[in-house]
């Protein structure tokens, strides 16, 4: 087959092809194409160039295919063609159902932003018959903790340390901030890097569709491969309860910015892994029972991380000792983490973390209004629920050291009178919910986070 080299606008393509995937010398290659266009090759590098153990070959092959399909979201979205096809081998109905769901929900925000109707377009053909149930891969009792540089994964790290679990910090990408956070945990570390196909950038410049993809799903699939390569039985994510709530509705479908962090995704993915990849593989979120507020409270007891972590995803690519370089102070993540920590930390300590008092800055009022869902919809970011934010803010109005700050005073005067006082206490947010997929082996870690 000829391999054309020139890239054309993927929006005119008829078909998105999953061409092939392979793994050699520590690098997974995932290959895609639009119509008969050039091959788009994504490469994922695993340090130490591990080889799958002979007993895990089958599981590994299936995990690699899964990664190929899931990471396809980054490429598919450039053109969203009507047809999706598999060059190498067809997929079964379970896989097709998983992918239909993932692509529809995971790309819902992308569709909303670009005003596209995706729901009826995305249809993965299921032409293979269901395989037998996957066997156990005989994985060791060790757990991978994906690091994000923010508070959540650090809470998971400390909760796992409290039960002396054998944990390894793992992250995908080159962020120096995440590397520094991982270093601070003192855990063994694994850093996986990912190279997108360079043609994708060219396509973007030609006006390809662009926007949010379900990146946690892609990272999850990468970690599944890592678990098989490096011999880990468990993958403990740090996704909270609030990750399951939608941002808004569009075309009759709920749009959730963090859908691939939701309970629905976790359940579907975990079930799929045990049925199709390895029966003993445990994929779960240790923070699922908790609200953002509860996790933030747990984090407030970890001063060792205060000068290292950042949840801001605007400024944190470059490492710097200055708070202003870790926290932009303008984005929803900054607003939310600041507000959620405020009830639990001494005010001067909190302000020293951010380098700026966001609640005494009137120019930030729109941003906080969005968090409170006051006149605004919830931002497209991984932040807590509006009711959580309102409870945190309400708790500050009765704190003498906070109540005169511009935005707290404004909340007290303008917004608070419109709210039902029964909805405002913080305490209910600190309770753990019963809905979660944490294996019995890791439930002792929940005691450290608290709230049961």
């Amino acid at each position: 087959m000829n391999t054309p080299t020139s890239v054309s606008d993927p929006r005119t393509a008829q078909c998105f092809r999953l061409v092939r995937c392979c793994y050699a010398e520590g690098t997974a290659e995932l290959v895609y194409a639009f119509d008969a266009g050039p091959e788009l090759i994504e490469r994922i590098h695993f340090p130490g160039q591990p080889e799958p153990q002979p007993g895990r070959r089958k599981a590994f092959t299936q995990a690699l295919r899964l990664l190929h399909w899931v990471a396809g979201t980054s490429y598919y979205k450039a053109g969203v063609p009507a047809e999706i096809s598999f060059d190498d081998e067809p997929i079964d109905s379970d896989s097709a159902a998983l992918l239909d769901t993932l692509y529809r929900h995971g790309l819902a925000e992308f569709a909303y932003r670009n005003q596209l109707q995706l729901g009826d377009r995305i249809h993965f053909p299921a032409d293979a018959k269901l395989p037998e149930h996957a066997a156990s891969a005989q994985l060791s009792d060790r757990v991978l903790v994906p690091m994000g540089g923010g508070k959540d994964s650090l809470v998971v790290v400390e909760a796992l340390k409290s039960m002396a679990a054998k944990a390894t910090a793992i992250w995908v990408g080159t962020s120096p901030l995440i590397a520094a956070c991982a270093q601070t945990t003192g855990l063994p570390m694994l850093n996986i890097t990912r190279e997108l196909a360079p043609e994708l950038f060219k396509m973007n410049r030609m006006g390809a569709w662009n926007g949010h993809i379900p990146v946690t799903a892609v990272n999850s699939a990468i970690l599944v491969l890592a678990a098989l390569l490096y011999d880990f039985k468990a993958i403990a994510f740090a996704n909270e309860r609030s990750a399951s709530s939608a941002t808004l509705e569009y075309e009759g479908q709920k749009v959730n910015h963090q859908w691939s962090k939701s309970w629905a995704f976790e359940q579907g993915f975990s079930t799929y892994l045990q049925r199709h990849v390895a029966a003993d593989l445990q994929y779960f979120s240790l923070l699922r029972p908790y609200s953002e507020i509860a996790v933030t409270q747990a984090f407030s007891h970890l001063p060792q991380y205060f000068n290292h972590f950042s949840s801001c995803n605007r400024n944190f690519r470059i490492l710097s000792p200055k708070p202003a370089d870790r926290w932009c102070g303008q984005c929803p993540k900054c607003h939310f983490v600041f507000l959620a920590l405020a009830p639990f930390l001494p005010k001067p300590r909190l302000l020293s973390i951010f380098g700026h008092n966001l609640l005494d800055d009137e120019s930030q009022s729109d941003g906080f209004d969005a968090l409170l869902e006051y006149h605004q919809h919830k931002p497209f970011e991984c932040v807590g629920e509006g009711a959580e934010a309102r409870a945190a803010m309400a708790s500050l109005t009765v704190r003498s050291e906070w109540r005169e700050d511009a935005l707290v005073a404004r909340f007290r005067q303008e917004i608070l009178p419109q709210l039902d006082p029964q909805d405002l206490p913080l305490e209910p947010w600190l309770q753990a919910a019963s809905e979660h997929g944490i294996p019995a082996r890791y439930r002792p870690a929940m005691q450290w986070i608290g709230g049961d």
């Binding site: 080159t174 962020s175 120096p176 997108l196 360079p198 950038f201 973007n204 410049r205 030609m206 006006g207 390809a208 662009n210 926007g211 001063p303 605007r314 400024n315 690519r317 470059i318 200055k322 708070p323 202003a324 370089d325 932009c328 102070g329 303008q330 001494p346 005010k347 001067p348 300590r349 302000l351 020293s352 380098g355 700026h356 008092n357 005494d360 120019s363 704190r399 003498s400 050291e401 906070w402 005169e404 700050d405």
Partner: protein
């Protein structure tokens, strides 16, 4: 070989050496040499030493370790001392062995009889006991007859009321005053002593510690008790500087300070001395001198009684971060007896110590330092609760206190106006000035301090409020003493071209451009690997030959008007061009779209909204105003709003929507924030910020981080560090490899390549001022009048004569502002001499005018 015995009343000199000064063989050799020279001066010597570097921390760790871990940790400490002893050529000295055994037995059986805190003090004291024992052995081995003195026998801690056991044992203080009987008794025992810093005894004979920085304080106590001739502190820096040299490399060494000024400076930030060590010396009028152990030839800082003869000057500027303000508002306080007493009682109750205080009729605002109690307990919350019962409270943080120190501050206020103007742009929360007239403090948002302090220091130098020219008070800059400075500044190109320039000047005033210098600058920039494409901002100097040379060096051309586009095309048609006009007309853009090889950059919504057709199916650039993003503080934010350049960040989504609808692709994202910048980190931040934005935009292929690369304007200003710039940019590029990086310098490439030549016309005296007139002025060079720019001025006809006369160099234009150079030191000039005004290759000829109908200077190029 010992000097002859000293008289009974021979003076004492106290020498104090810190941890890094007692940890190597060469440093001990130096200590021995210093002890010898001081004795040769006819003084008795008392040496005070800290523990070996790292030992106090190791003892802390030992204290915290479990009983089972302690012996092995102790053995590490023992090994470190034995190792140094061996290197010093000492064979297991007995005294050291005894002392080491004491350490081991101390940690293997924590004392039952004494308290935990007492045991801790005893344990931590071992570091100094060991180092002094080792030192005594070494000095004696060198034949110096040094006697080991137990500091605890000499220093008795003062009993102070309201002190708990912890501060009494671990942060003790001594009321040291001259004690003639004791010093005579000591003199009777010998001439050279070595003792410990950091430790003293209490009335019961128990070991107590003097707290952090305690060794300096010990030296001061000994100096006071001995009524010493002086105390010398030997450390790792020459002395106290006019600002934190890590932040302000141009900070000057303060060669002389009085006690009070020194006390203010060290209390407000300088880390060289511990603030506690000055008051015992001030009471006994004992001077203190700081020296750099590694560079003993440097003058250092001398602190002593006030000298009336020096000019009034600001001596230093410092910033303390992490300050919290508590603002208390109440009508009730007006003329109310006891209100403040009540307020301060609450601070005391919650263990918070108040530093600065500012008050109005209905408001009192105080500052709190960032203590552990403030940051990690609920003290502020409880304080605010209590205060809220009597007034309205607001807790403002994080702030920084920026302090100017200098005797007679109020007398200098009128000269501080340029500095006050800097503050005017920011939010100042509090200003304080105390009656001792030594300081002036501004409390501002903490984020401002890092940028503000270097700028204020530079203003202090420029305005002469900090009299760096007074050799009695000020020494060299930190940069010249310690900076990794590049080789001595190269000789400017025009030295070698002097005769040619003198000949050219005979034709009348003219600009001369030296193309090899332009090429050299261009190549220096091309060396920065991270930058994929360079553009020359031709507004700096659109002279045709310069454009050709820069195009040959691989530079594209950045134009801001149809005229510039035409000039660029005429000079070199093939070279790629950027068109980034600001508030240009529809017609301008129409012309630009017809220009091949030109990428158009927009910086507002209007062109897309109203003339969208011009941009259909085109790649375009977008200049964004990062205003809010960069630095995240008021100054930049207002800077954003008040600058006419760039698209407001708030409009970004609207711009992208419009572009998409029209079918224009935003492939270039651009920001340019300022000019004359010498801090390489500036572009690194712009780069990172643009990359973050570009990631959300999708179509962007290149990031243009602008120009503004500065050249030094004032004597002593260091040139832009291109290596640091290259390194910083490369770091960002590793994170964002998908974007090309573009830059567009102007002035940096051409300024130093150009000179303006003009002959002297007349000379006039007015009282003390000498005016030196030249044949052209602001009609040729308007930068001094417009920006207050400073250009070096040289008498080229008398290049090697001594510059002994101060001139105001002025032009012939009928404007008081027609001054090319203020206070220029030149050789005595005559009519017809040729003056050379340097660094005028940028924004010189291109900004010239026909004002007064005088033809401006012509232009010539030297290949």
């Amino acid at each position: 070989m010992n000097p002859p015995s000293l008289a009974v009343d021979a003076p004492w000199i106290v020498l104090k050496f810190g941890g890094s000064s007692v940890s190597t063989v060469s440093r001990w050799q130096q200590i021995a040499a210093l002890a010898t020279t001081r004795r040769q001066e006819g003084a008795r010597v008392l040496i005070v030493v800290s523990a070996l570097a790292g030992i106090t921390d190791a003892l802390h760790a030992l204290y915290k370790a479990s009983a089972t871990q302690r012996p092995s940790e102790a053995m590490l400490i023992v090994a470190q001392h034995q190792h140094l002893a061996e290197k010093l050529g000492l064979h297991r000295p007995k005294a050291l062995r005894t002392q080491l055994d004491a350490l081991v037995s101390l940690c293997s059986c924590p004392s039952h009889s004494s308290s935990e805190l007492a045991w801790r003090a005893e344990l931590l004291a071992q570091g100094e006991l060991l180092s002094s024992t080792l030192g005594a052995a070494y000095l004696n081995a060198q034949g110096l007859h040094a006697q080991w003195l137990d500091a605890r026998l000499a220093l008795l801690a003062t009993e102070l009321p309201h002190r708990n056991e912890r501060t009494r044992l671990l942060s003790a203080s001594v009321r040291a005053r001259p004690d003639q009987a004791w010093s005579e008794a000591l003199a009777a025992r010998g001439e050279l002593f070595i003792t410990q810093g950091f430790i003293a005894r209490d009335r019961s004979g128990q070991t107590v510690l003097l707290g952090r920085g305690g060794s300096d304080t010990s030296a001061a106590y000994f100096g006071a008790q001995l009524a010493a001739e002086r105390v010398e502190i030997w450390t790792d820096v020459a002395g106290i500087f006019s600002a934190n040299p890590h932040q302000v490399p141009d900070a000057r060494l303060l060669t002389q300070l009085d006690y009070e000024e020194a006390q203010e400076i060290v209390a407000t930030g300088a880390k060289v001395l511990h603030p506690h060590c000055l008051s015992p010396l001030r009471r006994s009028r004992v001077p203190l001198r700081i020296h750099d152990t590694a560079n003993p030839q440097l003058p250092g800082t001398l602190i002593g009684p006030t000298k009336a003869s020096t000019a009034p000057s600001v001596k230093g500027i410092s910033a303390r971060r992490g300050i919290t303000l508590v603002s208390m508002e109440s009508v009730g306080m007006w003329q109310e007896v006891g209100f403040l007493a009540d307020v301060f009682a609450y601070f005391k109750r919650h263990g918070l110590s108040v530093d600065l205080v500012g008050s109005a009729e209905t408001n009192v605002t105080v500052s709190l330092d960032p203590t552990e109690n403030l940051l990690d307990s609920d003290a502020v919350a409880r304080l605010a609760d209590d205060l809220s019962t009597i007034c309205r409270v607001k807790v403002i943080a994080p702030c920084a206190a920026i302090t100017l120190v200098g005797r007679g501050m109020r007398g200098m206020l009128h000269r501080l106006s340029p500095l006050l103007a800097e503050f005017g742009e920011h939010h100042v929360h509090l200003i304080t000035q105390s009656s001792n007239n030594l300081n002036l403090t501004f409390v501002v948002d903490e984020g401002l301090a890092d940028e503000l302090v270097p700028r204020l220091h530079s203003l202090l130098l420029r305005t002469g409020v900090l009299r760096a020219d007074d050799p009695l008070c000020f020494g060299a800059s930190w940069r010249s003493l310690y900076g990794q400075d590049k080789a001595a500044p190269s000789v400017p190109w025009w030295h070698a071209q002097r005769q040619r320039l003198l000949d050219l000047a005979e034709q009348g005033p003219c600009y001369v451009y030296h193309l090899p210098t332009v090429r050299a600058r261009a190549r220096a920039l091309r060396h920065i690997g991270a930058v994929n494409r360079w553009y020359y901002a031709i507004k700096a100097n659109p002279q045709q030959r310069l454009l050709q040379v820069l195009a040959e060096e691989g530079f594209g051309l950045e134009c801001v008007s149809p005229g510039e586009l035409q000039r660029a095309r005429g000079a070199t048609a093939k070279t790629s061009r950027l068109f980034s006009a600001n508030f240009a007309s529809q017609e301008d853009f129409r012309l630009a779209t017809q220009d091949p090889n030109t990428l158009i950059t927009l910086d507002g919504l209007h062109p897309l909204q109203h003339w969208g057709l011009w941009f259909r199916d085109r790649d375009i650039g977008l200049r964004i105003d990062l205003g809010r993003g960069l630095g995240h503080h008021e100054k930049v934010r207002t800077g954003g709003v008040f600058s006419k350049f760039g698209l407001a960040l708030d409009d970004l989504d609207a711009f992208l929507d419009l572009a998409k609808r029209i079918g224009a692709r935003v492939t270039l994202l651009h920001a340019h924030l300022g000019s004359g910048v010498l801090d390489p980190h500036h572009w690194v931040r712009v780069y990172a910020e643009l990359a973050g934005l570009a990631e959300r935009m999708g179509t962007v292929a290149a990031l243009d981080i602008g120009g503004g690369l500065g050249i030094p304007q004032y004597p002593d200003e260091a040139p832009l560090d291109l290596d640091a710039l290259a390194e910083g940019l490369a770091e960002v590029q590793r994170v964002y490899p998908q974007y090309e990086l573009w830059m567009e310098p102007g002035r940096f490439l051409v300024a130093e390549a150009g000179v303006l030549l003009a002959r002297v016309t007349q000379i006039k005296s007015k009282k003390t001022l000498q005016y030196l007139g030249v044949e052209t002025g602001m009609n040729s060079l308007i930068r001094p009048a417009l920006y207050g720019a400073q250009h070096p001025i040289i008498n080229l006809s008398r290049l090697h004569a001594e510059a002994d006369t101060l001139y105001q160099v002025v032009g012939p234009i009928c404007e008081s502002g027609d001054i090319l150079g203020k206070d220029c030191r030149l050789p005595r000039c005559r009519e017809g001499d040729v003056l050379l005004i340097a660094n005028t290759g940028a924004y010189g000829a291109v900004m010239a005018s026909q004002y007064n109908l005088r033809t401006p200077a012509t232009e010539t190029v030297i290949e």
